[in-house]
Amino acid sequence: MLRYAAGRLLAALPVLLIVSLLSFGIVWIVPGDVAAEMAGPTATAEELARLRERLGLTRPWHEQLVGWYGALLQGDLGESILLRQGVAAAIVERLPVTLSLTFTALAIAFVAGTALGTLAAVRAGKAADRAAMGTALIGFSIPDFWLGLVFVYVFAVVLGWLPTGGYVPFATDPLGWARSMLLPAATLALAQMGLFARMTRAAMLEVLQQDYIRTARAKGMPGWIVVGKHALRNALIPVVTVAGIACGVLLGGAVVIESVFSLPGVGRLIVGAIQRRDYPVIQGGLLLTATIFVLVNLVVDLLYATLDPRIRHGRR
């Protein structure tokens, strides 16, 4: 198992190298620079030139590339021009927000999705199946940020149940954290819930046809154990494999949701950096996000192995 993990990690290294090159490259084709943000709308061209000089934006790109990789090898992602802090620190500071959001959403999507999919599979062809699958389809057909705007209006403004946005750290106020996470996570989860529901249904239908399900029933197991224990554990195997991909999708989706709900997360950091041309943050942020994605997929692989003993024992 450990060797397997190490092997996968090693295989990820070239990917990360390419990722870092791409991160750096993107920045170099983006027009405009951070001086525009810093100087303000009515700054004159002269003021701007002075600012650029001071910020070191006039150095040639190869010089900056060498500097960037040099620092990177020492674990230094550089420093944000606008935030008065290191890129790594800026990201680490926001990571709890994005991880809270992503994983709450993942949990909601996974639990609700598999429940919906299981229900649909067990009641295949019946009205409940159609209702569940209809919900799933509609779930990933609605643009999430749009839904977020509607949710804020309904649940925060009209009903007043939940805050309109903002983040409350878990450590300060767990309940406040939950309240601040509910709307954005639910919004973000909806599309992936639909996906999980569809996958679960398909996998479940296949599993329910399997002989071991008949065995379980022949043993006198009640329906909920047959479905919940014997069938679901098998049906979840393919579902879990897409959880890794879903995680990437959620990380991407978090970008917009963080804006809609004013959450100070990594997505908004990077989008803000792109919009304001805070180059070190764009580079470091993209690199780190991609790394997280790679790591999450590694974890999913390991989880997959836990779920399916056949993989764990190197057979199949």
Binding site: L137, I142, A202
Partner: protein, 295 residues
Amino acid sequence: MAGADGGAVAPAARRRRPPGALSRLVAHPSFRWGLLLFGAVALCGLLAAWLAPFDPLRNNFRTRFRPPDEVFWFGTDRFGRDILSRTLHGIQVSLRIGLGVAVLTALAGGAIGAVAGFFRRVDGPVMRLMDALMAFPAVLLAIALAAALGPSELNVIVALSIAYVPRAARVMRAGVLVVREFPFVEGARAIGASPARVLLRHVLPNAMAPLVVQQTYVFALAVLAEAVLSFLGVGPPPPTPTLGGIIADGRDFIQEAPWISLTPGVVIALVVLGLNLMGDGLRDALDPRLRTAIR
């Protein structure tokens, strides 16, 4: 199934010779519904020039923020432009983007995937590059690229295509890996056909089905992604009407003028729903094995 006697259970209809993919597709209920939904919306978009009651770009500050009435069926925006007309034209632009991305990723991703799957020597490096692209959340990558390339319809297509190419490449590669082991491919090789010919004539046609299915979903994803890009201000530049752009126009007035965002939002949902239903139908008709591998 019912054990050794299972065959006896099957209803008679299923035992007839399986019908062709096309008739299976047409008979598929979700495909029909999807086609109906998507077709209806797409037709509206195609006929926008005739259907739209007003010029989608024409400002009129005397008709700003009109709620839906008999003149402006879906109200007007802050420029006094007719939401119905903008939405109809927006469908056209958004679908063009979606289709553009679907086709471009199919071509690029298909080619990359086919080459990687068929010529094992390049497989490693090519797929590592794809993995790297895939490691960026697609939306984030598209935002960065769209900002880099500058705002235009074409650049949005290019940015989204780059973001979605790895998926297409992976699907194609997986298909090619399976097909290249088929006996007739071995046969073609044995009689000395060139690798390119084997790939193009024998492998590709048989490995296409999953990609076709996949691209339906990519089409849908791209329509959604356009909306996200427009929302974040890196979509096709105003005043071009796009579905996402109209939503973005109305975002600040969700409470005061909900009709601005509501109309295109519903249309996007219908388009994506239709495409997904069509994709499901295609998947079942073209390749039943794909049932579990959605997207």
